[in-house]
């Protein structure tokens, strides 16, 4: 197979292949280069090495079940991907969710956003030679993931944000954990600024390299930190506030020149804002605790609860331990919208009563369960890379007729050929690094 580049290359120039298995290409992208010495005359970017058939697979999964696939799109910020999908389905259903769940969603997506930016900048710095920064930022990410894990039960692929609410109550001691994580992250950000902001090597590789103009950024459909680095303050959280973003105080940092350094700087500043948001949500959630669980119940593991129910002599109230699906029944109302048929019933009922079991089956059985009305919807959230939009077409069945993801990454990476044209070979690494290419989102 001859590529376009091979057909068009001049007779004198050198053709060089980078990737897909190259440490700086994140495993899933290939850049073919036409070089004159070290200068790039032209390039061709080939993607699709992580094409996993997400959109086709979703057409065969129920609305409830396909949530797990959304975790694995932008796998650096899975909770934001959950949120985008869930908001689209809720828009289709016209569902209102409890206020407490909204704050939890905002808190979780901001934790995810910080971990996304940390990973992006860590990789970018490491590929430019700053390995210490990588280690520091990974350390900060671990603190954030610990907080996420204690509540959601998983480090990355959490599937925590569900249609109609969130899966479980926050873990005990969540507020204190969050405060520690925020403190540690701030410390790391300060260290990283000290290491990179005036570092001549880093500046030489990022300042005025990979410059994107505003007009061009718009023509390429850039969104998110990359667009904001060019000076345009488009942020979905401000433009079309969802959940409770309009009640929280945060700024949208913008850059000036649109070069690699600005993209680094905007991400750094955004993390500060996200930490602010995390603190505000944490305070609100601390001031408004969910309903208390009555003390008369007895905690049981699921098998024990089923046994007790079979004997038809449950002693008092059953509390499932460890917490499953929406934790204790009393707390569900603060976490899930009250909409039978749209949210799964409480696990306590499913385990201990016949009516609950039937309700459970009706929700999960093929052809039943969650069936949004016929229609189509586009809903978007501010993802780690920009506007993350879900376009869902429903034909009234229990699975989407078509589900399409507007991947911010695709639009950003499509500008790579233009950004590196005429630059040096070494400029590819920081330019590509500052784009935060995430394979799962790019190739789907």
């Amino acid at each position: 197979m001859t590529t376009r580049l091979e057909r068009q290359a001049g007779p004198e120039s050198l053709l060089l292949n980078m990737g897909p298995s190259h440490p700086a290409m994140h495993g899933t992208i290939r850049i073919m280069l036409e070089l004159d010495g070290e200068r790039i005359l032209a390039s061709e970017v080939e993607i699709g090495f992580l094409h996993r058939g997400f959109e086709k697979t979703c057409e065969s999964k129920t609305f409830f079940n396909l949530l797990i696939y959304t975790d694995r799109l932008n796998y650096v910020s899975p909770l934001i991907n959950n949120l985008g999908y869930v908001l689209a389905v809720e828009k289709l259903l016209g569902l209102e969710i409890p206020e407490r769940a909204r704050y939890i969603r905002v808190l979780m997506s901001e934790l995810s956003r910080v971990s996304d930016h940390l990973t992006c900048l860590a990789a970018m710095a490491m590929e430019s030679g700053a390995f210490t920064v990588f280690l520091y930022m990974m350390k900060a990410r671990e603190f954030l993931w610990d907080v996420i894990e204690r509540t959601t039960g998983a480090r990355m692929t959490t599937s925590y944000i569900r249609i109609g609410g969130v899966r479980a109550e926050l873990a005990d001691g969540f507020a204190a954990d969050t405060r520690t994580a925020v403190k540690e992250t701030r410390k790391v950000l300060k260290d990283v600024r000290g290491l990179l902001d005036r570092n001549p090597i880093f500046l030489a590789r990022t300042r005025d390299v990979g410059v994107m103009s505003r007009e061009n950024a718009l023509a390429y459909g850039w969104t998110g930190p990359c667009l904001r680095s060019t000076g345009l303050a488009y942020d979905v959280r401000k433009a079309r506030p969802y959940l409770v973003y309009d009640r929280l105080a945060f700024d949208v940092p913008v850059g000036e020149r649109g070069d690699n350094f600005d993209r680094y700087k905007v991400r750094m500043l955004e993390m500060e804002q996200s930490l602010r948001l995390i603190e505000q949500c944490g305070d609100w959630l601390e001031r408004h605790p969910g309903p208390a669980v009555p003390a008369d119940g007895r905690a049981m593991v699921p098998a024990e609860a089923i046994r007790e129910a079979r004997r038809r002599k449950p002693e008092g109230r059953i509390i499932l331990s460890p917490n499953l699906e929406g934790s204790e029944k009393e707390r569900l109302e603060s976490l899930y919208a009250c909409a039978p048929g749209v949210v799964p019933p409480a696990k306590e009922d499913a385990y201990a009563s016949m009516a609950g079991l039937i309700g459970h089956f009706q929700y999960f059985m093929t052809g039943h369960g969650l069936r949004p009305p016929k229609g189509e919807v586009y809903a978007s959230v501010e993802g780690g890379n920009g506007e993350l939009g879900y376009y869902i077409v429903s034909d009234g069945g229990d699975r989407p007729y078509r589900l399409h993801l507007r991947a911010p990454c695709l639009h950003i990476v499509s500008a790579l050929e233009e950004l590196i044209r005429g630059r040096l070979l070494a400029d590819i690494i920081p330019t590509f690094g500052s784009m935060n290419m995430i394979g799962g989102e790019l190739d789907r």
């Binding site: 993607i47 699709g48 094409h51 959109e55 718009l218």
Partner: protein
Amino acid sequence: MEEEKTLDALRDACPGAILEAGLSLGDAVAVIRPEDLPAVAAFLRDGPPRMAMLLDLTCVDRPDESGRFEMVYHFLSLETYARVRIKARLPAVNPEIASLTGLWKNADWLEREVFDLFGICFADHPNLSRLLLYDGFEGHPLRKDYPLRRRQPRIPPRQDGPGS
């Protein structure tokens, strides 16, 4: 409402092109004739709606309906933050529509993706080739008649591997 204003402006500017227009779940939606797409897109970008961004471009396959392929375009204005969805129906045989690469640069890859997964041709596209899949892949997987599990490996499985 910005969405309604956009639709009204569109109705006034391209009266013949709009087949249907209205609000659906808060989104402005207009169905147009496919041949009018370049005019509508140019109006959206340079006319009063000021839709500076081609937000998204995709396709829906509806084998049972008369216009089988439904092209779906989302545009966004950065001044009013209004969005509009433009749809155009293409026939099942030789589906072709004009390319938007002259107006927006990201249309290049987005159209290649739709070409790859749906087999829609885009007239005047500079490099219409597969984007996500590989050369030698037969068919277009996101069409409804492509089976989910029909695999087309590029290399044969190893001889002493599982299932051999």
